[in-house]
């Protein structure tokens, strides 16, 4: 896709292409974009048309999730408390994209501070699923997924703390990758749960994801957790013969929709017919993953979101009162209900007397879950299962029942707890809604899951299907 787009842009006009996208976005029912960097993007496109340059993404527009810092472009995490905040610096990934000639076209909607899997907690209202406007696009990178699936952007970046790239990729029928923790620098990513999250691409094809990964991955000395070295993913190795795929017993059965289960098993059968071997494996601590994830993520969030007091940037009302009243007021009015819920629960979990019972215990579970994966990977090269237990649900259906929303993350959060990479690729439909296949790899072995995903994609028609909106 992106390779062909580059050819098209070279023979045609980036400015024209971009204008077409902007026109489409203006009329769009999706509410995927929160802001457009129209002027700077068109300026860059005109420059490309004059002198395309050598960049690997030269002339290619890309949509960026609201929580990734972009110099000069408002970055507000879809939260009122950060409205008006314009970062004075670019995130590492933005620097990398710009260095390869990509054009930042705008920012995309998300669950407030990435807290959600439906993009409904945004202060800009929900984003709609291009396959069914009444459905959520998944989340929290729902804006990024919807605009790519809806043909409003050729590719996008999201962030994945507990499934926030893979869930919307699955719900919107596109490809989304959560890289190994430490592979992509988090410098400039506004933190929700810093020990769990990674920036990842959302694209139409596996190859495009590999291309974006080559651009954004690599060591950055400004992120202490960033791994050494730079990896190559292209060209992706084709074929799966000889690959051993583990099927986690715990990722099927109760809570998984029949249609999802069928689509995923069909995918496994396809991979087998392409030469891969599969065997059942067990990740016995999966049932504790959600609890551990939410304790860790909320604890970290309660601390990460403490800086938003309106003093230096973001929301501020007319007259200041004393410090406590002023910052409490700003936080009371700036954060939405889900952000407040998580800050409160996280604060509680870290409090004296509860720290051992919740946070430390969650860390222990996290270690057990990581060990589950390491044990499984002794026998197999990668794991396969559903990304989400269900297809996209209706807007408003679950928003007032946070627990049922949290339960939907059951197969995505263990991956973040373990720090391993995982990709979601379209593998069929449940009715008219897409289903995603999740392929999970060993630490820093993105190559193998890209290989399996790419081979599967080549052998199946799902990625070619587009929603009626296009």
């Amino acid at each position: 896709m992106l390779m062909e787009l580059k050819e098209q842009l070279l023979s045609g006009s980036a400015e024209e292409y971009l204008n077409k996208l902007f026109l489409k976005i203006e009329k769009s029912p999706l509410n995927g974009f929160t802001s457009l960097a129209r002027e700077s993007a068109l300026q860059q496109a005109r420059e490309f048309d004059k002198n395309p340059g050598q960049g690997r993404l030269a002339g290619v527009p890309i949509a960026i999730k609201e929580c990734i810092s972009t110099k000069g472009i408002e970055t507000n995490c879809s939260s009122n408390i950060l409205r008006g905040y314009i970062p004075p610096y670019d995130a590492h990934v933005i620097e990398q994209l710009k260095a390869e000639g990509a054009i930042i076209m705008g920012k995309t909607n998300m669950d407030e501070f990435a807290m959600g899997s439906s993009t409904e907690t945004s202060c800009f209202g929900p984003t709609r699923n291009p396959w069914d406007y009444d459905c959520v696009p998944g989340g929290s990178s729902g804006g990024s997924a919807a605009v790519v699936a809806g043909g409003e952007a050729p590719c996008a970046l999201g962030s994945d703390t507990g499934g926030s790239v893979r869930c919307p990729a699955s719900f919107c029928g596109i490809v989304g990758l959560k890289p190994t923790y430490g592979l992509v620098s988090r410098y400039g990513l506004v933190a929700y749960a810093n020990s769990l999250e990674q920036i990842g691409p959302l694209t139409r094809t596996v190859e495009d994801t590999a291309l974006l990964m080559e651009v954004i991955a690599g060591h950055d000395e400004r992120d202490t957790t960033s791994a050494e070295g730079k990896k190559r993913y292209l060209p992706i190795r084709e074929g799966v013969s000889g690959l051993k795929i583990g099927i986690p017993r715990e990722y099927f059965g109760e809570g998984v929709s029949k249609e999802v289960e069928k689509a995923v098993w069909d995918a496994i059968n396809t991979l087998e017919s392409l030469g891969a071997a599969w065997q059942e494996v067990s990740l016995p601590h999966t049932k504790h993953a959600l609890a551990a994830y939410y304790v860790i993520a909320m604890s970290e969030a309660s601390s990460n979101l403490a800086r938003f007091d309106g003093l230096r940037y973001g929301l501020r009302f007319g007259e200041d009162k004393d410090w406590h009243t002023t910052f409490s007021d700003i936080r009371a009015r700036g954060f939405g209900p889900e952000a407040k819920r998580r800050i409160l629960l996280g604060t509680y979990a870290l409090s004296a007397g509860y720290y051992g019972r919740y946070y430390l215990k969650a860390l222990k579970v996290r270690t057990l879950i990581k060990e589950d994966f390491l044990r499984a990977f002794k026998d197999v090269d990668l794991l396969a299962g559903p990304t989400m237990p269900i297809p996209a649900f209706k807007i408003g259906e679950r928003i007032n029942d946070p627990l049922s929303l949290y339960l939907a993350d059951v197969f995505t959060v263990p991956i973040n707890l373990a720090g391993v990479p995982a990709i979601s690729v379209p593998c069929g439909f449940a009715g008219h809604l897409p289903v995603g296949l999740q392929l999970i790899g060993k630490h820093f072995d993105e190559a193998t899951i890209l290989q399996a995903a790419h081979t599967f994609e080549k052998a199946t028609p799902f990625h070619e299907k587009t929603p009626a909106v296009i």
Partner: protein
């Protein structure tokens, strides 16, 4: 004063480092515009991440070793969560479990005149918050401004056990700590706010109060003295001392209760995942090997090598600058005499003028000591020269001696004056012979007048006595 129990928490800015604790901003902000030494990291902008300044850890280990602490195998950073406008992230990166250094001790001179070890509980690293500038006094200000230049400065917090028993001992501890830090070249105490002290104090059987954020060693002494009086008076009136945080009002010299920021503090410490655990055990041998000679060791060496009294050696080694100055002078002039003149005279004159030894030339000091040793000038003359040089009246000892005629009279001139004076003072001689030792002073006075003060009174006394005895 065994019934007074004091423990100190001292925040030391490792201000000899070039860059801040977690970013590349310069630490040299003292003469800069507010908020000009900042970046996304120390301003805690969304998305920024800390990167540990390894040199700061090295400095911390240095201090830990000098305080005779155990250095942990691996050290971890934690978040200390609280809301305050000077804290732009809403948490401070600090240490909790596995601090850099634990269980040390340093020696001070106790009030009973005996030297003893004060135990150090721990020394851990953290980042300094910004600085609040109130428009007026803290309780009356209409608004407050925040300067984040200081934010992210590397701090070492040294926590003592409650081993101190008086304000004077607390002062002695702080002096010793400062001395060690300056020896290690990690700290410059002349910069504003470079050392801030929290003091815990209780009387035997009573609850303790914490006096927060006292700057200046004199301030610590005054705050503690006030607090002891206050607590004693409360005990006398049978009022219970409550455990609380107090603020030292430097203007009124009293401590006042401050309501704690958010009820009881729960800082919700948890690991800072943006930094990784640092295995420091392997750093220690090299840092240990490169440690400079510390005050106590230098003091011992001065006694042995220069044959000084322990008091003089202590006085000369309390400040590294003075110790280095002394050794430079001792290399060019008689060491024992140099010690007396630097410890007893020069230091006093400097103190009086609030000057440091940097402002005095080592060559000049050596010259003065040598002239004294060769009896070319009198002791009064030497004091005069030192004062003139410090006050900018004269360019060198030699020049001052010449211009002021401070050169000591030659011995034969003195001898002659003595003979004359004795001959002229028959009454005094008679009194002396009759048993009045004091009568000699009269004759010495006559000699001094004749030599216009250029002779040394001590010597003259000896000569006069000898001359009279001959009669």
């Amino acid at each position: 004063m065994e019934d007074v129990i004091i423990g100190l928490e001292i925040h030391v800015q490792l201000n000899r480092l070039r860059s801040k604790m977690f970013c590349g901003c310069s630490t040299d902000y003292h003469n800069s515009e507010p908020n000009s030494h900042t970046c996304p990291v120390c301003l805690g902008l969304p998305g920024s991440l800390p990167v540990l300044n390894k040199k700061a850890v090295e400095f911390g280990i240095k201090v830990g070793l000098a305080l005779n602490c155990t250095i942990e195998e691996e050290t971890l950073f934690y978040r200390k969560n609280y809301y305050y406008p000077d804290l732009p992230k809403g948490f401070q990166i600090s240490q909790y479990d596995f601090p850099l250094a634990t269980r040390g001790h340093i020696m001070i001179l106790g009030d009973d005149g005996v030297e003893r070890d004060i135990r150090i509980n721990r020394a851990h690293m953290e980042e300094d918050p910004g600085r609040l500038v109130h428009a007026g006094t803290i309780d009356r200000a209409k608004y407050t401004m925040v300067d984040y230049n200081r934010c992210g400065m590397p701090l070492l917090e040294v926590v003592t056990e409650p081993d101190l028993h008086s304000p004077k001992e607390a002062r002695a501890f702080l002096d010793k700590l400062k001395s060690i830090l300056e020896y290690l070249e990690v700290f410059d105490g002349s910069l504003e706010g470079s050392m801030r002290v929290d003091a815990n104090i209780s009387l035997k059987g009573g609850d303790r109060t914490e006096i927060k954020n006292i700057s200046g060693f004199k301030g610590v002494e005054k705050a503690l003295s006030y607090e002891i009086t206050r607590q004693k008076n409360m005990q006398r009136r049978n009022i219970k001392v409550v455990q609380e945080t107090r603020h030292f009002d430097e203007i009124r010299n009293i401590t006042v209760s401050i309501r704690s920021k958010v009820g009881a503090h729960d800082y919700r410490y948890f690991p800072e995942c943006d930094l990784v655990g640092l295995r420091i055990a392997s750093w220690v041998p090299a840092i240990k090997a490169a440690l400079p000679e510390l005050p106590d060791a230098k003091r011992k060496r001065f006694v042995e090598q220069y044959n000084l009294s322990d008091d003089h050696a202590k006085s000369l080694t309390s400040e590294i600058k003075v110790a280095n100055f002394y050794e430079a002078v001792a290399a060019r002039a008689p060491p024992k005499l140099a010690a007396v003149w630097i410890a007893d005279v020069l230091k006093g004159e400097l103190n009086y003028r609030d000057q440091t030894v940097d402002g005095f030339s080592q060559e000049h000091m050596a010259e003065i000591v040598n002239m004294l040793a060769e009896s070319k000038i009198t002791e009064d003359g030497a004091v005069q020269i030192i004062r003139d040089l410090l006050d900018g009246r004269g360019s060198s000892p030699d020049e001052i001696v010449k211009s002021k005629g401070l050169g000591k009279a030659k011995d034969d001139v003195v001898q002659k004056a003595v003979r004359e004076a004795v001959a002229e003072s028959a009454d005094a001689v008679a009194d002396y012979k009759a048993g009045s030792e004091r009568a000699l002073n009269f004759i010495v006075g006559v000699v001094m007048k004749k030599t216009r003060g250029k002779a040394s009174p001590g010597e003259v006394h000896k000569l006069v006595k000898a001359e009279v005895e001959k009669m």
